[in-house]
Symmetry: C2
Subunit: 238 residues, 2 copies
DNA sequence: TCAAAAGTGTTAAGTTTACACCCATGA
DNA sequence: TCATGGGTGTAAACTTAACACTTTTGA
């Protein structure tokens, strides 16, 4: 990868580095889920001391030779069984005393999944639980702060990227989409104005299929076309 | 701080933690400067192998017992001599092979300073140099990626916070302010429209003083009133 | 027949963009 | 007297926000 190895031998730590302390590096995942109505957060019971049994974000430690992003994917898959989950880094949390067990730098990620996808794969071995986003119990260490920062970033991403569609099944009604944005942004969105805007977006396409689970009359199912979305974003830059 | 120490003794690492590897944790600072006309990046010569002598961001290692943010402030002060610099975290960079010397997780910050403030305090011991933001030479490891992410975040902050004012002296002309935003956003901004908007902001106040360094006629000097800014932002939330 | 969700347009207010000339001054 | 940067207003295009009733159908 790097041609300029100079005089460093494999496995040997250069003198300048060796003078400095090393620390545990963890990853913590803020896992958001949507069930068509409300936004949820997935929390687990902490399995070891200190604070064993307290509510916490799903997390783990970074392994030698493992990319940070890969560590986040791995711990996430471990809990949810899901492999291609949308994740994005929230940032690093590194107060010296944030973890009362040892010095741990935590890099937080947030993940977006459809609650239905999770139910099917849920192992339960971590004592995981979905809680409504406005009913989060006290969490261990600085995890509440992590969740709050993650929400902020998600709100931003929902407006400026296609991230939000990761919370929905492949086909969805406009009412569900509307409710999803209301849940993410935390405020009501006018139905008519919302539908008008959606109608202008070429990447949200009617499928012709009807969903009758929520109404007798039935609602049109729509789908998100990522190819068209990416193309229309490309053209913004020109 | 944390009441729930359970059975952890001071200085002892709990068994669950001890099983995991520890890593070097570094901080790197993307230091942006403005001289009234162009936007600059401060880079230094790397002082130790590997890649000794290559251009790099100013950085350092996090110490035991030191908060991540404090480590960033410290390395920054070391280079610039400036104490109360605006800094903000960009994120964690943690590819397994990003640093060819050892496994190092880097947490990047960006800092905004007035180039004039720096000149006065510049020690030169790091072989530091201002480069125009569009003329950055190749940087070591993933530092270019770090700079690009920092710029993106700064662009965002310039629109949604008072961060940009950290790049200006206490008093500034509207032409300088206009040029600053053009430099940050990377595109021209209409002079008349810009001044119209500024006139509506109560927190950018004329001082009555005139600056004649850039024109014979002289331009009104303005100042940023943080108290008013914070108050007007508070009221957005209500 | 009625409850519950789906669907549908118009108008006013506000925001954004484009655009060109006169002013004051020191060299 | 002229070159340089400082300063000013208006109109069109576009975006956002507010607002209420009809449709369909299974229970």
């Amino acid at each position: 990868m790097d041609k300029n190895k100079t005089s460093i031998k494999r496995g040997e730590i250069p003198a300048h580095y060796a003078r400095h302390p090393q620390m545990f590096v963890g990853v913590d995942s803020v896992i958001f889920g949507f069930n068509g109505k409300d936004l949820y957060l997935l929390i687990v019971k902490r399995a070891y001391p200190p604070r064993k049994g307290a509510w916490t974000l799903m997390g783990g430690f970074v392994r030698n030779g493992e990319d940070l992003d890969a560590a986040a994917q791995r711990t996430l898959e471990d809990l949810t069984g899901l492999e291609n989950v949308y994740i994005k880094q929230v940032g690093a949390f590194g107060k010296a005393d944030r973890d009362s067990g040892a010095r741990v730098i935590s890099v937080a990620y947030y993940a977006l999944i459809d609650v239905k996808d999770y139910d099917a794969n849920f192992s339960g071995k971590y004592g995981a639980r979905w809680v409504k986003i406005d009913e989060i119990p006290p969490l261990v260490f600085d995890h509440r702060e992590i969740v709050d920062r993650a929400r902020e970033i998600m709100r931003n991403d929902a407006r400026n990227s296609d991230a939000a569609f990761n919370l929905l099944p492949k086909m969805f009604t406009l009412t569900k989409l509307n409710k999803l944005f209301e849940a993410i942004l935390g405020k009501p969105i006018d139905k008519r104005n919302f539908r008008k805007k959606v109608a202008e977006l070429k990447y949200i396409k009617p499928t012709g299929k009807i969903d009758q689970t929520d109404s007798k009359r039935g609602a049109m199912l729509y789908t998100f076309d990522k190819k068209i979305y990416d193309r229309s974003n490309m053209s913004k830059l020109l």
